[in-house]
């Protein structure tokens, strides 16, 4: 008996798990239900996308020609309304010949914002930069010096106003919120209850009622003869509103600091303010950065509400630009889409940035 060597059948080569085809197999056609969903959604996309394309691009009118737009009504988008009105939408009622001023001021402000987001620039002199940027912003917008003509604040509008309201409110609300959050955890009952009343009162009412108060009631609060610019009143309103929300976020961070650290600081003989400044706040604030960024995003979106109290920021400037113009009014929806894109870009950029900051923070906690 001789034994023959019979090789066993070769094993099948392993199924590829990387690359496009396997990805499609597991992620789109993993099981029956998933496959049906995929086919349905793909079908929907095949139905919708060409229509969307022909409306948004294919048949769209890009030139500022109201007649052409009217002819393509319902078939193609009229981006001509943006071509025609973008200066009014973006800059509001600012005098037309002086448009370079808000453009310059806003770009400066945006540049400063971008720079402040980069870690290498987180130095003490950044505060100085900001002060000068704000000063230059107000000089450029308001004028009255250096041969610039005077422009009253009720003529400010559009994107500059949106950026201004958001930035200034954020800068003012942040320190206020820290003070209120510390106050809410204070041992002094009078201060604590005052802070609690403030926070709960403001968080319980909608922003619009605060803005109503700023625009209708504030004049009554001031002594005779003193009148305060509506822009300032609205900024104060938004600041007080945002600070209450931010104070609760900061309080969350304060509560997360273990008692032991406070006791250790007491033992070392640090005073209350030294403890807060050197031990508690650095840790607490770092912890709540993502939530604070979210709050910034909502302040930015909330600036759109000032249009209800007749200030012409981005949303208001759009109505201002189109409502009075019979030729272009029918194409308001395209103009709305245009500022939607602007708001989206700002907010999306901020939320991406907050994710990056969060990663930086958790990096220090990782092992």
């Amino acid at each position: 008996m001789t034994q023959h060597f019979v090789p066993i059948a070769a094993r099948p080569s392993p199924v590829r798990t990387r690359g496009a085809v396997p990805w499609v197999r597991t992620h789109l056609f993993g099981d029956l239900r998933s496959s049906i969903t995929s086919v349905f959604l793909l079908g929907l996309a095949i139905y919708l996308l060409p229509r969307l394309y022909s409306w948004g691009l294919g048949n769209a009118v890009f030139s500022a020609d109201a007649q052409a737009c009217q002819n393509m009504r319902g078939v193609g988008a009229c981006w001509g309304v943006v071509t025609e009105k973008y200066r009014l939408i973006l800059l509001g009622r600012f005098p037309f010949e002086e448009h370079w001023r808000p453009v310059l001021a806003t770009s400066m402000m945006l540049a400063a914002l971008v720079v402040s987001c980069i870690r290498a620039f987180w130095k003490p002199w950044l505060a100085l930069v900001w002060m000068s940027v704000l000063a230059v912003f107000f000089v450029l917008m308001g004028g009255g010096v250096f041969g610039l003509s005077r422009v009253r604040t009720d003529l400010w509008g559009g994107l500059p106003l949106t950026v201004l309201l958001a930035t200034v409110s954020i800068f003012l609300a942040f320190p206020l919120s820290i003070a209120v959050a510390l106050g809410r955890r204070s041992h002094l009952p009078a201060i604590r209850s005052a802070c609690i009343v403030y926070i709960e009162l403001v968080r319980g009412v909608p922003l619009i009622s605060v803005l109503f108060m700023a625009s209708f009631m504030f004049p009554l609060f001031m002594p005779q003869g003193v009148s305060i610019d509506v822009l300032v009143r609205v900024v104060v309103g938004i600041t007080l509103f945002a600070a209450a929300y931010m104070a609760e976020i900061v309080r969350g961070g304060l509560q997360a600091i273990p008692r032991g650290q406070l006791e250790a600081a007491d033992t070392l003989g640090l005073s209350y303010w030294q403890t807060q400044r050197k031990i508690v706040l650095p840790q607490a604030l770092a912890m709540v950065v993502p939530s604070i960024m979210n709050n910034f995003i909502s302040i930015f979106k909330d600036t759109s509400l000032v249009t209800i109290v007749s200030m012409y920021e981005l949303t208001g400037a759009l109505s201002l630009a189109l409502n009075s113009d019979v030729n272009w009014r029918p194409f308001k929806i395209e103009a709305y889409l245009f500022i939607t894109v602007i708001y989206f870009l700002f907010c999306f950029a901020m939320s991406r940035y907050s994710l990056w900051v969060e990663k930086q923070l958790t990096a220090s906690k990782g092992r």
Binding site: P206, S209, M217, S304, I308, I333
Partner: protein, 370 residues
């Protein structure tokens, strides 16, 4: 020391503001007090839950506004919960298209201001929808046009009242049954599926109510006339714009809350329950969701409150909510302080009562600690 200083400062501030206000009011001849609430309003309200005529008082007008706010907020909360939970769970789907779609939805809708969305929806309804004469209709029962959305509704009468009572009784009984079933499960470990029997109990309640009410069958069905749609129930385009924008906007946030909650349950819990032999569905229902709920509920409450507060933007599209009616009242009567105070009071009451209720709920759900 600090305290005394703070009290003096706050006191001074309040006195300063109050004094100035009184002074200003005296000089401008503005009267104060809430007596104007009894004066006749003189304006009509397009959309009311209770009947209202211009000769009735400002007080009633504002009450109509409160009811309108509550109506849009309550319906919005229900819809936004459903949509938000679906979107949040969709982020964990095995299908990449569903995941991507849910992600894009959330990013798109929460990064655009709610006011802008509301204005866009309103514009869409006013521009795109057909005139009432050629309304889009579904089976001659539902009509959609510039005039709003018309739908059949049961005629008011005692018969339908019994159906409603039957429904409430059914829901109560089903809830009691569920409690009993869960109690039995904890004692014996035998799991009675509560889903279908609960639905059955509710149905039995409704049918019993219907029978007891004398089997009413009349419905008010909308009919298309040449210029308008008559009869049936109707909601205005303003209401739809407010409701849809609030729902879509808040749902994006609810989706994030739900996603965060589900992610917060550690993987070990799922693995352990799988090791104990629980099916995936049971794992979800008995292990993951109860723990996720603890994380989800507090921020979810905040979202509900946000939705209610955002409903105040209805003033921008002309839906007669409490802010918009108080605003009209303000312009007519000139009582700025009182009107803004009324708006704030209405929202404060809602917010504070909701947070009281939610705190109680949280206390019940919290993990017992030492």
């Amino acid at each position: 020391m600090y305290q005394a200083l703070a009290i003096v400062l706050i006191g001074l501030g309040v006195w300063f503001l109050a004094h100035n206000t009184q002074e200003n009011m005296r000089i401008r001849g503005i009267q104060s007090g809430f007596d104007f609430l009894r004066a006749s309003a003189g304006f009509d309200i397009g959309e009311t839950l209770i009947s209202f005529s211009p000769s009735e008082s400002y007080g009633k007008a504002i009450w109509v506004g409160v009811l309108n706010t509550l109506r849009v907020a309550l319906i919005g909360i229900v819809l936004t919960t459903v949509l938000g939970v679906l979107l949040g769970v969709g982020r964990f789907s095995r299908n990449a298209l569903v995941r991507g779609l849910c992600y894009s939805y959330v990013e798109l809708f929460r990064n655009v201001p709610i006011l802008l969305q509301m204005l866009m929806w309103y514009l869409l309804f006013v521009e795109v929808l057909p005139a009432p004469g050629e309304a889009w209709n579904l089976a001659d029962l539902f009509y959609l046009s510039k005039d709003g959305f018309a739908f059949p509704r049961p005629l008011q009468g005692t018969g339908y009242l019994m159906v409603l009572i039957g429904l409430v009784a059914g829901v109560l009984l089903a809830w009691l049954w569920r409690r009993w079933a869960l109690g039995a499960f904890k004692k014996t470990g035998r799991l009675l599926k509560p889903g279908w029997p609960m639905l059955g109990i509710v149905l039995v309640g409704v049918v019993a109510g219907w029978l007891a009410g004398g089997m009413p069958t009349q419905w008010a069905i909308p009919e298309a006339g040449r210029f308008m749609i008559e009869g049936g129930g109707r909601v205005s385009p303003e209401f739809m714009a407010v409701l849809i924008s609030l729902t879509f906007y808040t749902a994006a946030f609810v989706a994030e809350v739900v996603r965060g909650g589900i992610q917060s349950v550690s993987l070990g819990q799922k693995e352990a329950s799988a090791a104990l032999g629980l099916a995936p569905r049971q794992t979800m229902k008995l292990v993951v969701l109860p723990q996720a709920m603890r994380v989800i509920v507090p921020p979810l409450t905040n979202q509900y409150l946000n939705l209610t507060k955002n409903s105040s933007l209805a003033v921008a599209v002309g839906y007669p909510d409490v802010v918009s009616i108080a605003n009209t009242t303000l312009n007519q009567s000139g009582r700025a302080v009182e009107c803004v105070a009324i708006i704030m009071l209405v929202y404060l009451t809602t917010s504070l009562s909701t947070s009281l209720f939610m705190n109680a709920y949280n206390k019940r759900m919290a993990i017992p600690e030492r």
